[in-house]
């Protein structure tokens, strides 16, 4: 990123040759993102990350909002008044019920994969199931959490609007995009200089945009090379190991999930205490969605899946990367089992 911008001014807007050179880096990034998503370059609007992308995506005038009950808080809060589309106990959207609820003119938001459980959502089945209604509905998918494991071009081929973020792909934080195809357009969120089709004014973060493009390409390479499949096998190994422990339940075990995610609940253990011990042992994990204070709060996602609060209080969310090694998986198993034993003593 630094190399591509060496000697160039930060601002891509301007008529002189140096500004044009910076703009060329930005537009190169836009084209590369567009290739990864299988859309036209004009469909790619750079944002400051996933939350901003989701906020922009949901600015669709007076269309009634119907969102899944497991959406990220960015979508839920940006949606304002909305109707929830339920998920089953396995964390998968209940497509049949959703189709009954969705009406012509709705803005529907269903994430590509849940950020806590990793459960993949049946976007294709939902889109197909809408039948004739499909044309009158705007379908948005928050794909922020799924990009490493899942081809985003598939998501973009189903949904008119898709939100993505670089940091979930190993890229820089503070860079994302909303992909808008078809004849829909969100209302401008930030006004001023008319950048990003006038929908998101302000000098673009060229380095961030380039980082997003690189991250998407590297994620695709990981999928092609089999690194993602290998990660899934390691996840399955850890899942087997932990799932055999007394009082441990793997969340959404039977559902299709991202290869990077392992979510479990542990009876008789509080997440915050478990995380304390895991952190002390050098294992970085989380319990659900952390709020700004860093406190792990009882998860709305687990609640939406019908899980009781006491079980949800013992949630543990582990994320793998393609770089996670067999040794690390083995160590993680030992550390987690030891911490659970200590807390139950």
């Amino acid at each position: 990123m630094a190399k591509a911008l060496e000697g160039l001014p930060p601002n891509p807007s301007g008529s002189h040759r140096l500004a044009r050179a910076t703009r060329s880096v930005l537009e190169d990034a836009r084209e590369r993102v567009a290739v990864e998503l299988g859309v036209a370059p004009g469909a790619v609007l750079f944002t400051s990350g996933g939350t901003e992308a989701c906020n922009l995506a949901l600015r669709m005038g007076s269309r009634p909002r119907k969102i899944s009950s497991i959406e990220h808080v960015a979508v839920r809060d940006a949606a304002g008044e909305h109707v929830e589309l339920a998920v089953g106990g396995d964390g998968v959207l209940d497509v049949a019920r959703a189709i009954e609820q969705i009406e012509d003119g709705d803005l529907v938001s269903v994430m590509a994969a849940n950020n806590e459980t990793g459960v993949l959502q049946p976007l294709r089945a939902l889109s197909d199931g809408l039948g004739a209604l499909r044309d009158g509905v705007v379908l948005h998918s928050d794909a922020v959490g799924s990009g490493w494991c899942q081809p985003l071009a598939e998501t973009a081929s189903i949904c008119q609007v898709v939100s993505i973020a670089a940091h979930k792909l190993g890229g820089p934080a503070g860079s994302g995009a909303v992909i808008v195809t078809g004849d829909v357009a969100p209302a401008p969120m930030v006004v001023g200089g008319g950048q990003e089709r006038g929908l998101r004014a302000g000098t673009q973060d060229v380095a961030g945009a380039l980082g997003l493009a690189c991250a998407l390409e590297l994620a695709s390479a990981d999928r092609r090379s089999g690194a993602i499949d290998a990660m899934g096998e390691r996840r399955d190994g850890l899942e087997k190991l932990l799932g055999d422990l007394d009082g441990v339940a793997i969340t959404a075990r039977g559902a299709p999930r991202l290869e990077s995610h392992l979510h479990l609940t542990i009876e008789g253990v509080r997440s915050d205490e478990l995380l304390f011990l895991l952190d002390e042992a050098g294992l970085c994990a989380s319990a659900g969605a952390a709020c700004a204070s860093g406190a792990s709060r009882p998860s709305r996602v687990l609640e939406a899946m019908g899980m009781g609060e006491s079980r949800a209080r013992g949630a543990l969310r582990l994320s793998l990367s393609p770089l996670t090694s067999d040794e690390e998986i083995e160590q993680a198993g030992v550390i987690i089992a030891g911490a659970i034993a200590q807390l139950r003593r």
């Binding site: 915050d272 205490e273 995380l275 204070s293 860093g294 406190a295 709060r297 009882p298 807390l343 003593r345």
Partner: protein
């Protein structure tokens, strides 16, 4: 006490200056220190959404000290042990002390137990009070800074809790605490002291908080001697026994004070202040706690009935009904049911002996006509 250089200490860091300095002092002393901030209240607060700023301040101080910092979400336990009883007590005409209940159930029960599970030897807080390890066992004393002393809200601690407790700032004055924090460039050095209940916003107040959770009862102010109605209140539950504000004066120009609050009867009994003084405090049965061995009837003690209230000499005695009483040597203004009585030693006025929750206070010499109804 164990050799502190080899023990692990968990410091409860609120994001205020006292607990920041407590953590820093323990680090200075070479202990193995970790910080934890409790997220207690899940609703809106004046400190921002879930007190994010306080948590960030605590985390930043921990960073500066080079210690680990974690956040524990105890909102469920806080609701159960502090907020719900707070609401229920007001509906029953009592005035609870939520800070004492938070210390009792959250900090020195839940958190202390968690610290032991996590392998810590000691728990530290930033309270202005002192734990003195005497030959007979740990003692709880008032903080050196009389104006900031917080022993009142710790008076419910028992011997096993005190044995695991460190209160590093109890030896310092507030001025010394701030000077220390400033010298160390701790972010919290200039933060104002917290004044109000952490779960109630200034603009809604106690009334708004309760009104959002229960329907409040409009009622009458009744003269306790004559039975005459002398005024109205919009919510009986918001009147506290001992309150003078808003209750007016009698025909002789004497200020009225609330002597009994009864939401179920939609009334508040009032009396002129000089006729309302109480000289016996009846304690809730089974609410007594002792820092060492329980005291017997007849024991002479000092009692304090408000966080920064006056101290009165008293004798422990069997009450006329169930439970025990503190018979006061001199009469004092009415005391609200639900408040904490902190009990100190008559021989050593800084030494905390125990605590109890006030059931009600009575006057042995005069009985107002309506009090018996």
């Amino acid at each position: 006490m164990a050799d502190l250089s080899t023990v692990k200490v968990l410091v409860a860091m609120s994001g205020g200056v006292d607990s920041s300095v407590a953590a820093s002092l323990l680090v200075d002393q070479g202990h193995d220190v970790s910080g934890v901030t409790l997220k207690l209240w899940g609703g809106p607060s004046d400190a921002g959404c879930c007190s994010v700023q306080d948590v960030l301040d605590a985390a930043r101080v921990a960073d500066q000290l080079g210690i680990d910092h974690h956040v524990f979400d105890l909102t469920d336990a806080f609701d159960r042990h502090v907020v719900e009883p707070f609401v229920a007590a007001h509906l029953a005409g009592r005035t609870p002390n939520p800070c004492v209940e938070c210390n009792r159930h959250l900090k020195f029960d839940h958190l202390l137990a968690a610290s032991r599970r996590l392998g810590f030897d000691l728990l530290a807080t930033g309270h202005h009070a002192r734990v003195v390890h005497a030959a007979e066992g740990p003692e709880l004393h008032r903080g050196r800074d009389v104006a900031k002393d917080q022993s009142y809200v710790l008076a419910m601690l028992g011997p096993s809790q005190l044995a695991s407790l460190v209160l590093p700032v109890g030896e310092l004055s507030k001025q010394e605490v701030r000077r220390y924090a400033t010298a160390r460039h701790l972010r919290t050095s200039g933060k104002p002291d917290s004044q109000d209940l952490c779960f109630i916003q200034a603009d809604e107040g106690r009334g708004g908080f309760l009104a959002a959770r229960a329907s409040l009862t409009p009622g009458s102010l009744i003269d306790a001697e004559s039975g005459a109605t002398v005024g109205e209140v919009t919510a009986v539950e918001l009147v506290t026994v001992g309150q003078r504000r808003g209750l007016g004066v009698d025909v002789h120009g004497r200020r009225r004070v609330a002597v009994a609050v009864s939401p179920s009867e939609a009334r508040v009994l009032v009396a002129p202040q000089d006729e309302a003084l109480v000289d016996e405090v009846v304690l809730d049965e089974e609410s007594e706690t002792w820092t060492a061995a329980p005291l017997d009837d007849g024991a002479s003690v000092l009692v304090q009935l408000r966080a920064h209230g006056v101290v009165t000499r008293a004798q422990l005695a069997a009450a006329r009904g169930p439970g025990r009483s503190l018979v006061l040597e001199e009469s004092i203004a009415p005391v609200a049911p639900g408040q904490t009585a902190a009990i100190y030693s008559a021989e050593d006025p800084t030494l905390v002996l125990g605590s109890a929750v006030v059931a009600h206070a009575i006057r042995s010499k005069v009985t107002l006509a309506l009090e018996q109804t």
